[in-house]
């Protein structure tokens, strides 16, 4: 993302704001599908989050969403709660980093 949008500060800010507003919704969605034991939807939702987060260079979050996606595809959700918890922690870490660096403040208005 930095390589593509590097000099376009407005775009970088927009995309970070988007991430901060969007990821909790996706996490909630995954959590809901997990509670419903809906493996197919969980896989699709994790895939979507993975596709988004990969652009931010957040490798750990990407790997965890990929893990959730594979669990969903195989229908084996026994460990999904643990992975989802790790993913939540990872997103909190990302959010703290962004706030600490004064990135993505304010509402996202496309």
């Amino acid at each position: 993302m930095q390589e593509i949008a590097g000099e376009n500060r407005q775009m970088v800010t927009t995309l970070i704001k988007y991430l901060l507003q969007e990821y909790p919704l996706k996490i909630d969605e995954i959590q809901r599908y997990l509670a419903d034991k809906d493996a197919a939807r969980l896989a699709a939702s994790a895939h979507k989050l993975k596709g988004m987060i990969i652009n931010y260079g957040a490798q750990q979050a990407h790997d965890l969403t990929f893990e959730l996606e594979r669990m969903g595809e195989s229908g084996q959700l026994e460990m999904a709660t643990i992975t989802l918890d790790k993913l939540k922690q990872e997103f909190l870490r990302i959010e703290e980093y962004l706030h600490a660096n004064d990135l993505g403040q304010g509402e996202y208005n496309p």
Partner: protein
């Protein structure tokens, strides 16, 4: 160059647009159905796309289905060779099966895995002969 970006993820779409806007007029579609509609409208207007960046996993109609449908329309209308739209598939998957299906069944020209790499994308477009008149 007339370009269609078919991508359901806002971030990928925005980044693709940022790269490609320097090289042509970008149209966007947020799912497979919209992509098909955009393709058919362009065909009807007699000015089809030179390049389509097509995400594999999209809601409604996925990228492979879109690609197959486009190739079928081209076949039915006798559009062949260089007149066929150039398609670059994009995917977050390092998924050989999906990509090979796209190459074999739908005959796309190239594929890229995400995150989108600007240099790789432009290199593929150059290989397709679509950047020749940019300078």
């Amino acid at each position: 160059m007339k370009i269609l970006i078919a991508e359901d993820d806002f971030v990928c779409r925005t980044l693709l647009q940022e790269i490609l806007a320097e090289h042509g007029v970008c149209h966007v579609a947020v799912d497979g159905l919209e992509a098909m509609e955009a393709y058919k409208n362009a065909l009807k207007d007699g000015h089809t796309f030179d390049l389509i960046c097509l995400d594999i996993m999209m809601p409604g109609m996925n990228g492979q289905q879109v690609l197959q449908e486009i190739r079928k329309i081209e076949h039915d209308k006798g559009i062949g060779g260089n007149e066929m739209v150039k398609v670059i598939m994009t995917t977050a998957l390092a998924d050989g099966k999906n990509i090979m299906q796209a190459f074999i069944k739908g005959s796309c020209e190239a594929y890229l895995t995400k995150p989108i790499d600007k240099e790789k994308l432009l290199a593929e477009i150059e290989k397709l002969g679509l950047l020749e008149d940019d300078n």
